[in-house]
Amino acid sequence: MKKRLISLFALLIAVCCVFTACGAPDVKSDTDGNSISGIAASLESKYTTSLAGTTLNVFNWGEYISDGSDDSMDVIAEFEELTGIQVNYDNFESNETMYSKLQSGAVSYDIIIPSDYMIERMISEDLLQKLDFSKIPNYKFIDEKYKNLYFDENNEYSVPYNVGMVGLIYNTTIVTEEVDSWEIMWDEKYADQILTFNNSRDAFAIAQFMLGQDLNSTNKEDWDKAADLLKEQTPLLQARVMDEVFNKMEGGNAAIAPYYAGDFLTMYDANEDLAFVYPKEGTNIFVDSICVPKNAQNYDAAMLFINFLLEPEVGLANAEYICYASPNTAVVNHEDYSLKGNEILYPDDEAVANTQYFHDIDPEIRSYYEKLWEEILRS
């Protein structure tokens, strides 16, 4: 999620710093060269179908599937080899752009991977179709924790792909005190060293946790209060960032930033002075799930693809490459998984207080807080 600029970083290596992407699992010995035949052989019988020669259109976040770089598994190529189905793979960079493309009707995809609140919205607008779980036997690997979630209470439309949480990243050479609260993002000691999200909902969420509010509040006064808090913060900020956070935190150019746990692991590879904490006030959790749009052209291939993504070996390759938490128990317990038991990706339930999901929010409230956000940007 939101990693589209990673490719830019690759180019920047030549300019200056050394960048060790998390997506380069050198621990996997079974993927050197003969991986395709290796994986294919074990699964061949399951994936031999009459669908060979058809086309599957997949729409996913950038950098959100293991693509064969750095000795990782090329998931798409494996699937094509195994099934003879040709995959067209496209990227999007936000739930909203994905939604507007799909809604315009100009495109048709068989597989999309939106986040929770977007799935809620798409189900309510009748843009998704039910999955045929009899064709997805690997669904049994999905952790019970990630079933019956609010956006798909009866597990009809979606299969969880990745799970993530926002936390606070800080540089221990600059921040020497113990950090356990979002409050530090308002500490004048660190003026000009603080970063925050450059998108309204994520930035608001931090203020909302500080104020003990519900992230999906429909009370305009709550949003006003959160906006006031964010305006107070503006003079202390170095910048509002998304992907630039990697460069800034890895290079020690900023001291404090909120970001996704999985991405912290990537940053930590480059700079071991960084530390991560789930603040005590609570934090935002998200699930990106695999869905099939109403206007899909190749439903059966889509079911096959979903099942393939849940295969333990495939899920493992993706989990190693993407570095987000996997909802797949076969991956989480896999003996080759280098992030197995990692306490940042897989914290104990007690370690993280008050996790809240974003819900699809009423358009009137949305336009209200976007208005406030603009005032904050101008403040």
């Binding site: 920047l12 300019v15 450059n198 910048a239 101008r378």
Partner: protein, 274 residues
Amino acid sequence: MKHSSLGTKILNAPYILWSVLFIIVPLVIVVYFAFTDQNGAWTLANIAEIKDYGEILLRSIGYAVVATLITLVTSYPVAYFMSKAKARTQAIMMMLIMLPMWMNLLIRTYSWTTILEKNGIINTLLGYLGIGPLPLIGTSGAVILGMIYNYIPYMILPIYTIMVKIDPALLEAASDLGSNGFDRLKRVIFPLSLPGVVSGITMVFVPSVSTFYIADKLGSTKTLMIGDMIQKKFDINLYSNTGAALSFVLMLIILISLAVMHKFAGEDGEAIIV
């Protein structure tokens, strides 16, 4: 070409079609969005909202003016010496000016963050000398630098193109009539190069004032520019109408400033308009 033949008309057709499809139609759409609300009803509310953006608009114009002036002052001598250099040197210089443009603007701009950061290349080098770290990134200076870096070829090239066309015989005549070097520059070369200057100013000022991304990456929360604001408006999807209104006003400002400049530059300046 008063009586254009059928052949000319056919040759012109693709160009006209292109202009209508990709220039006229989008402009009409922008204007339509600027004067309607989300439901398509006519309204002036979007235009009225512009007053909230006065500061950002002024800031954008200010940055663009400064960037254009610095670009002009630095480009003019470059273009002059380039036009006087040997053909081979000219080719090499041209190549060096064009080379960075082979890379995408986003990447070029993003690279500057690595150079300007607190622990970036410049500050690291200064650190060895016991200086700094200086606040480079996140300043107005960084934003203006980004504009100059990205748009300077658009200033050098038109001035150079005009200068190589200046007839050397005119300069010889000026010398024969007693002009010294400075007089020649002031009374012959500069007036003759004016169309190139006007065109260069236009080509740097227009993208600078409406630029997005540069201020977002190199600036701070205090250097927000109108281009970024418009981009955010469309990104959010809720505010396409105010975004269009801002674009519309920005276009008017650009048109007016160009008109003023052309008036100012006089008849010599009419030769080249973007």
